[in-house]
């Protein structure tokens, strides 16, 4: 019977030394960052902050030095990520590039692609977005219709990508699309990935505002956009297996259970100086989930470090993580009564509103709850 195993995270004394260094840096750097800004978590966008991390050598931490990386361990990178998120640092500009585009390039890119792009990501000067979803292809990624057709000197692309976060701030997209007609028998065949320079002619980016009115999402339209020959990432026709190879990176990190963490901080502030028993119990229950998830997520970092492919374990971390992220605002609102405005009361109210409004996305982005549970069920041998 298949069982999901989360081995104990390997000890990493060097990561704990690193943690102290990161905390010192963030204490100074984020001194004046307000709770509501910190609440944006990994949606917070600040290219200057990303460049600063790059200058410190804190992007592409695990990549080979030949490509601008720093050859450090996944466990050190884990500590860096969780400290950035725990502090509410604005990491959104580089997040996707560092988390999954860079690792995909490292794994599937040509030497020329790697040399041209990876050092720029590691410097915090080159940002990526994900070109997967389409207007008619959400969870059913294999049904994408955007098409790249080979022609002399390159590829001609037509189609529309949707929900493309931060496209207007990004230099490149990793595009997932069809390079051969859809085959009902082999739905995953005939797809490929491309590294797309978003400044090319034939590419139009239009904002899609979220329910709050913020602009993070975009629609990216390709109209006879001509990609050069060397835009292909990896093997033609291998898009599906390449995309699924990113998932352990995409789904297991601390951002999958810390999206609401700032609200917990503001809750603890609002509960001072004397919290009642009910509030302490509710906080303790949430914290027990976070402590356990953190251990599972660190365990996946250890598996990645050991060269395993923990895609199933990652799906589980993300499914459980979204549950606690969404529980935090529901529970926090119940513990603090509305009252006359005070400065600390206002910070709590703002962060609660922000988190409540963004919570629905936590179990949609990066694989919906239903998709994740389907993946887990397949891992159990049920599908």
């Amino acid at each position: 019977m298949p069982q999901f195993t989360f081995p104990s995270p390997p000890p990493s004394p060097e990561a704990e030394v690193f943690r102290a260094e990161i905390r010192d840096f963030l204490a100074t750097e984020l001194k004046d960052r307000a709770p509501i800004d910190r609440a944006q978590s990994w949606n917070g966008l600040d290219p200057a902050f990303s460049r600063k991390l790059g200058q410190r050598g804190w992007l592409g931490l695990t990549w080979p030095t030949a490509y601008g990386g720093h050859a450090r361990s996944n466990l050190e990178r884990y500590v860096l990520l969780e400290e950035l998120l725990g502090a509410g640092a604005p990491v959104g500009a580089h997040w996707i590039a560092e988390r999954q585009s860079g690792p995909s390039l490292l794994r599937y890119g040509t030497e020329a692609q790697k040399r041209a792009i990876l050092p720029r990501i590691a410097a915090g000067e080159c940002f990526f977005c994900i070109g997967m979803s389409e207007p008619d292809s959400g969870s059913d990624l294999a049904s994408v219709r955007t098409r790249a057709v080979r022609e002399d000197g390159g590829w001609r692309v037509n189609g529309t990508k949707l929900w493309t976060t931060n496209a207007t701030h990004c230099h490149f997209m990793i595009l997932f699309c069809r390079t051969a007609p859809a085959d009902r028998e082999h739905r995953h065949a005939g797809t490929s990935q491309f590294v797309v320079d978003l400044t090319l002619p034939g590419i139009t980016i239009r904002p899609v505002r979220n329910l709050v009115g913020e602009h993070h999402f975009n629609e990216v339209v390709f109209e006879d956009a001509l990609l050069p020959e060397d835009a292909l990432l990896g093997q033609e026709g291998e898009g599906w297996s390449q995309v699924t190879g990113e998932l352990a990176y995409e789904r297991s990190g601390p951002e999958r259970f810390l999206s609401s963490f700032r609200l917990l901080v503001e809750l603890v502030r609002a509960l001072q100086p004397a919290a009642d028993e009910r509030a302490a119990i509710a906080l303790g229950r949430l914290a027990a989930q976070l402590v356990t998830l953190r251990r599972m997520s660190r365990s996946v970092a250890g598996l990645l470090q050991a060269g395993a492919d923990p895609a199933l374990e990652a799906a589980m971390v993300k499914d459980l993580g979204a549950l606690v992220e969404q529980a935090i605002p529901e529970i926090a609102r119940d513990l603090i009564a509305e009252g006359p405005p005070t400065p600390q009361g206002r910070a709590f109210a703002e962060v609660l509103a922000y988190t409540t409004l963004h919570a629905p996305s936590f179990s949609l982005r990066g694989g919906t709850r239903e998709i994740l549970r389907g993946i887990i069920a397949r891992g159990l041998g049920l599908r």
């Binding site: 019977m1 069982q3 999901f4 195993t5 989360f6 081995p7 104990s8 390997p10 000890p11 943690r19 969780e82 725990g86 502090a87 963490f261 917990l264 901080v265 503001e266 603890v268 502030r269 509960l271 001072q272 919290a275 028993e277 509030a279 302490a280 119990i281 509710a282 906080l283 303790g284 229950r285 914290a287 027990a288 989930q289 976070l290 402590v291 356990t292 998830l293 953190r294 251990r295 599972m296 365990s299 374990e313 589980m316 499914d319 459980l320 239903e370 994740l372 549970r373 389907g374 887990i376 069920a377 891992g379 159990l380 041998g381 049920l382 599908r383």
Partner: protein, 349 residues
């Protein structure tokens, strides 16, 4: 349990797994359920060194790290072991750390006790929720002595036992004692820490039992057919089984955390153990509910073995502190840490 390759717990767990699979026949379970003390089974566990694995070598152990020895309890949980291995290990560990001799045979730790020691070293008081108390050679309780807290090993023959039965059908007895001369020593840790270590034993057993429940429920969904297909082919059932697997994996991770915290026995002990008991207790409730739902009516019968596991999950989540008790402790710890100390407190647990 740091890395799988050099994990001293692996051979120990494999031995225990084989032994329990052989010993725990339906006939053996029936004898135990009827109230018999199965001396032959206990002797087999003792001969395999399971109860002593947690002890330091000076006290009769064989030098296994505490966390690895505790991992035996996940195997006990996986087999829904109806014998006091956890309590004997816990009592042995506590007695050894207090410098007291560890008696041979099954031992008990009182889940709750109200006991005092007089100047002559005689114990008076009561204890309740004592797992297998009527069969234990000694019951370990914390007691307040004239010079501070002490750990006492009450000999069973000197105790008045009121037999009771827990939610799983296993003995959970109340005991009374009056001016009982008993070995005691200054407590190496307070009563809350003993309770926390007890909570760790329950967390580990719950993790093991939930792993078994997840596996048997998934297997059942693949065998049982309705509407012309296996239950496991229905998406609604698949999604529930995925949730059950997630609860089982969470419980396992939390239990590992508990075992390591008992091993380290440092300042981080209480928050980590509190988190572990809360999380495994929640997982037990949610996981057992799904297992019963998927099994349907057959899982609600005495004939089916599911209840061996789910009844023990319901018992163990209550013992040594329910979720609310430990959540309160953890929550207060975090509130005391304050908003700026919250993140460091989470990473330290």
């Amino acid at each position: 349990m740091s890395c799988p390759e050099d994990d001293a717990g692996v051979p120990l767990r494999e031995t225990a797994d084989r032994l329990l699979a052989d010993l725990l026949t339906p006939q053996a379970r029936a004898r135990i359920a009827a109230g018999e003390w199965p001396d032959d089974l206990w002797s087999a566990l003792a001969e395999a060194g399971l109860p002593a694995a947690i002890l330091p070598e000076a006290a009769g152990g064989f030098g296994v790290p505490v966390a690895d020895a505790l991992s035996l309890l996940t195997v006990a949980g996986r087999h829904a072991l109806p014998l006091p291995l956890a309590d004997t290990m816990l009592a042995g560990l506590a007695l050894a750390r207090a410098g007291l001799p560890v008696p041979d045979g099954p031992l008990a730790v009182a889940e709750g006790a109200d006991a005092t020691l007089d100047a002559a070293g005689r114990a008076t008081g009561r204890a309740w929720g004592v797992a297998w108390g009527r069969h234990a050679r000694a019951v370990v309780v914390p007691a307040e002595g004239p010079d501070g807290p002490r750990l006492v090993a009450l000999p069973r023959d000197a105790l008045a036992i009121e037999p009771g039965t827990g939610i799983a059908g296993d003995p959970r007895d109340a005991v009374r004692f009056e001016a009982v001369a008993a070995p005691s020593a200054p407590a190496p840790f307070g009563a809350p820490a003993l309770r926390a270590a007890g909570a760790a034993t329950r967390a580990l057993m719950m993790a093991g039992a939930l792993g078994a429940v997840s596996a048997m429920t998934t297997a059942y969904a693949q065998e049982r057919r309705q509407f012309g297909r296996a239950l496991g082919q229905f998406q609604a059932v698949q999604q529930n089984l995925a949730v059950l697997a997630g609860q089982a994996a969470s419980a396992a991770a939390a239990a590992d955390l508990a075992a390591e915290a008992v091993d380290a026995w440092g300042p981080g002990l209480m928050p980590a153990l509190a988190a572990a008991k809360v999380r495994t207790g929640e997982a037990a409730g949610q996981g057992a509910a799904i297992a019963h739902q998927v099994h349907g009516a057959i899982g609600f019968t005495q004939e089916h073995r599911l209840h061996l596991f789910t009844r023990r999950l319901w018992a163990w989540r209550d013992e040594f502190g329910r979720e609310a008790e430990w959540a309160l402790l953890l929550g207060r710890h975090l509130i005391a840490a304050g908003p700026d100390g919250l993140w460091p407190a989470i990473t330290a647990a």
